[in-house]
C-alpha cells in the first residue's frame, strides 16, 4: 500500500507511454537478472543424455537429482573435503569473526558515543577511513605475519583479518545508533549511579538490538562470500571455506562434467537463497540503513 501512495500515478493520458516503457524495462531487467541462475539450476537437473543438448530451454525434459549426488561424491573423493565440511568451515569463520567484530565494535562505539575526549573525531575518522583501504594491500605482510606466528593454514589466519576489516562498518553503524538513544535514559541511569560497564550492558545493548542485527547482516555478507584471503591462507582442504572449495571443484583438477559443475554452483547458491528469502526484509533494510548512516 505504501508504494501506491508514494508512486506517481498514471492518471493522465500521456503517462501511458511511460507505463509501457517502464514495464518493458523492468521485464527485461528481471529476465536478465534471473535467467542465468535459473539456467544453471535447470542444467543441474538434467539427466546425462540431455545434458549437452544445445537447446537453451529452461524446463528440463527429464529431471534427476543425480548430479547433486555426483557432486557430493566428487567433492569427497577428489577434494578431500565434503560439502558439509565446507559449509561448516564457512560457518565457523564467519560466525566467530562476526561475533568478535561486533563485540569489539560495540565497545568502541560506546567509547565514542559516551565520552568526550581529545582526539575522538580524529580516531573515528581514522577508523572509518580504514574502510576505504583495499584489503589486498595488507595481503602480503599478513601472509608473513601469519607464517611467523604459526597460524597460517588455520582458521585464525582468516578470522583475524575478517575481524579487522569489518570493524569499521560495524563501528560506524553502532556509533550512530548509540548516539540516537535518548539522552534522558542515559541521564536517568547516571543518576541511579550505574557504572559505565553496567550502562553499556544493561541499557545500551538491549536497546540496540536492531542495530546489532543490521551489523550482523552486513558483516555476514562481507565475510561469508570472501574468497581471496581464504584462498591464500587456507591451504589445508579440510578447513577451506566454500568459495575456495567451489573454485577448486569447478575450476580444478579434472574437467568437471557439466552436471557436477552446475550442481556444485547450485549447492552453494541454494542455502544463501533460502536464508535470503526468509530474512529478505532484514537484508534490504540492513543495506539501506548501513548506507544511509555512512
Amino acid at each position: 500500500m505504501k508504494s501506491k501512495t508514494l508512486s506517481y500515478g498514471i492518471r493522465k493520458q500521456r503517462d501511458f507511454g511511460f507505463y509501457i516503457f517502464s514495464r518493458i524495462v523492468i521485464v527485461i531487467t528481471i529476465v536478465v537478472i534471473l535467467f542465468p541462475i535459473l539456467y544453471i539450476f535447470s542444467v543441474s537437473l538434467r539427466t546425462k543424455d540431455t545434458l549437452y543438448k544445445s537447446k537453451f530451454y529452461l524446463i528440463p525434459e527429464a529431471i534427476t537429482y543425480q548430479n547433486y549426488v555426483d557432486a557430493f561424491n566428487y567433492a569427497k573423493a577428489h577434494l578431500d573435503v565434503s560439502f558439509f565440511e565446507m559449509f561448516r568451515n564457512s560457518i565457523i569463520c564467519t560466525g566467530v569473526s562476526i561475533t568478535i567484530a561486533i563485540i569489539l565494535s560495540a565497545f568502541a562505539s560506546f567509547g565514542f558515543s559516551n565520552f568526550r575526549f581529545r582526539g575522538k573525531e580524529l580516531i573515528y575518522t581514522l577508523i572509518i577511513a580504514t574502510f576505504a583501504v583495499p584489503v589486498q594491500a595488507s595481503l602480503i605482510p599478513l601472509f608473513f605475519i601469519n607464517r611467523d606466528l604459526g597460524i597460517l593454514n588455520t582458521y585464525l589466519a582468516v578470522i583475524l583479518p575478517y575481524i579487522g576489516f569489518t570493524i569499521p562498518i560495524a563501528t560506524l553503524i553502532l556509533r550512530s545508533f548509540f548516539e540516537q538513544i535518548p539522552v534522558e535514559i542515559k541521564e536517568a541511569a547516571r543518576v541511579d549511579g550505574v557504572s559505565n560497564f553496567q550502562m553499556f550492558l544493561k541499557i545500551i545493548l538491549p536497546l540496540s538490538k536492531p542495530a546489532i542485527a543490521t551489523c550482523g547482516i552486513l558483516l555476514f555478507l562481507e565475510t561469508w562470500n570472501e574468497f581471496l584471503f581464504a584462498l591464500i591462507f587456507l591451504q589445508n582442504p579440510k578447513i577451506q571455506t566454500f568459495p575456495v572449495a567451489l573454485a577448486k571443484i569447478a575450476g580444478g583438477k579434472y574437467l568437471v562434467p557439466l552436471g557436477i559443475y552446475t550442481a556444485s554452483i547450485m549447492i552453494t547458491v541454494i542455502p544463501i537463497l533460502i536464508i535470503f528469502l526468509i530474512f529478505q526484509k532484514w537484508f534490504i533494510s540492513g543495506v539501506t540503513l548501513g548506507a544511509i548512516k555512512g
Binding site: I33, I40, T130
Partner: protein, 294 residues
C-alpha cells in the same frame, strides 16, 4: 573530582573502550600497509625463511612500471572502477526512478529480485557466467555463433564489468529507492500542475534531491570495485594472456600465483601503488563532495 580522576575519566576510560578495536585495526590494516611499503624494497620469492635478505631499493617499482602487464591492468582497473562508479550508479538510478514512479503492484518483490544476486558469492556468480559466456555456452547458442567472449583481448574486461554490474546493481537500487521514499510529493504535484514533462521533473527535481544518495552510491561502488578480485579471477583468470588483469589480480599473479614469477617484492610494490591510487581517488571524491555540500 580531582585531577587524577578527571584524567582517568576523560582519557584512560574512553581509550580502554576503544583499545580492542584499535589494536585489531592497527595490526590487521595499518601495520601491514606500512610493512608493505618496506617489503617493496626487497626481492623475495616467498620461499625463504628470511624475507629481508636482498635489499633492492626501488628496483621493484622500476620493474613494475616496465612491465606491459602493469599498464594493461592500470587501464583495466580504470575501466572497471570507472564503470562501476558511473555506469552502475546510473543504471541503478534509472531503474530506481522507473520502479518508483511506475506504480508497480509488486514493487518490493521486483526490488528483491534485482537485489538477490548481491547476496551470492562472487565466485558462484562468475562460475555461472563463465559457463554461459564460454565458446559453447548459452549466449553463443542463442546467437548461433561461436565467439570466444572471454578470450577476446579487448572484450574480456567488459565481460567482467558486465557481470559485476549484473551482480551489484540491485544493491545500489535498494539504496536509491530508500532515498526516493523521502521525496517531497507536493513539489512533484506542483510541477505536474505547471505542466512539466518527465525529463524536466526528473532532472530538475528528483535528481537534485537524490544528489547525496548518488554520491553515496558512487563512493560505495568506487571502494567496492577497487577490492574486486574474485569476479575477475574466476571469470577470466586475468584474461587472455593477462589482458583483463586488474590491480588486485595482477598482485596475486606476481606474489602468490603458482605459475607466476613469484616476485613478491613486485607484488608488494603494486599493493602500495594500489593504496596510493585509492587515496588519490578518495581525496578527489571527498573534495567534490565537500564542494557539493557547501
Amino acid at each position: 573530582m580531582n585531577r587524577f580522576q578527571k584524567f582517568h575519566q576523560s582519557v584512560v576510560v574512553p581509550y580502554l573502550w576503544l583499545m580492542p578495536a584499535l589494536i585489531f585495526l592497527l595490526v590487521i590494516v595499518f601495520l601491514p600497509v606500512a610493512v608493505s611499503l618496506i617489503l617493496s624494497f626487497y626481492r623475495f620469492t616467498g620461499y625463504e625463511l628470511n624475507i629481508f635478505n636482498k635489499f633492492v631499493g626501488i628496483y621493484n617499482f622500476k620493474f613494475l612500471f616496465h612491465q606491459r602487464y602493469f599498464w594493461i591492468s592500470l587501464r583495466n582497473t580504470f575501466y572497471f572502477v570507472g564503470s562501476m562508479t558511473f555506469i552502475q550508479t546510473t543504471i541503478s538510478l534509472f531503474l530506481a526512478i522507473i520502479i518508483f514512479f511506475g506504480n508497480f503492484k509488486y514493487s518490493s518483490l521486483i526490488r528483491m529480485l534485482i537485489f538477490f544476486p548481491g547476496v551470492l558469492a562472487p565466485v558462484s556468480v562468475s562460475l555461472a557466467w563463465r559457463k554461459i559466456l564460454e565458446q559453447d555456452g548459452l549466449i553463443n547458442q542463442i546467437l548461433h555463433t561461436s565467439y570466444p567472449w572471454l578470450s577476446n583481448v579487448n572484450l574480456a574486461i567488459w565481460c567482467v564489468i558486465f557481470v559485476n554490474i549484473w551482480q551489484w546493481v540491485g544493491y545500489n537500487l535498494v539504496i536509491f529507492y530508500a532515498g526516493l521514499e523521502g521525496i517531497n510529493k507536493e513539489l512533484l504535484e506542483a510541477a505536474d500542475i505547471d505542466g512539466a514533462n518527465w525529463t524536466q521533473k526528473i532532472f530538475k527535481i528528483v535528481i537534485p534531491f537524490l544528489r547525496p544518495t548518488i554520491f553515496l552510491n558512487a563512493l560505495l561502488n568506487l571502494i567496492g570495485s577497487f577490492r574486486a578480485f574474485d569476479i575477475v579471477y574466476v571469470l577470466t583468470g586475468g584474461g587472455p594472456a593477462h589482458n583483463s588483469e586488474v590491480f588486485t589480480t595482477l598482485m596475486y599473479y606476481y606474489s602468490f600465483a603458482p605459475n607466476g614469477p613469484s616476485k613478491m617484492g613486485v607484488g608488494a610494490a603494486l599493493a602500495f601503488v594500489m593504496f596510493l591510487a585509492i587515496i588519490a581517488f578518495g581525496i578527489v571524491r571527498i573534495k567534490l563532495l565537500k564542494e557539493q555540500k557547501v
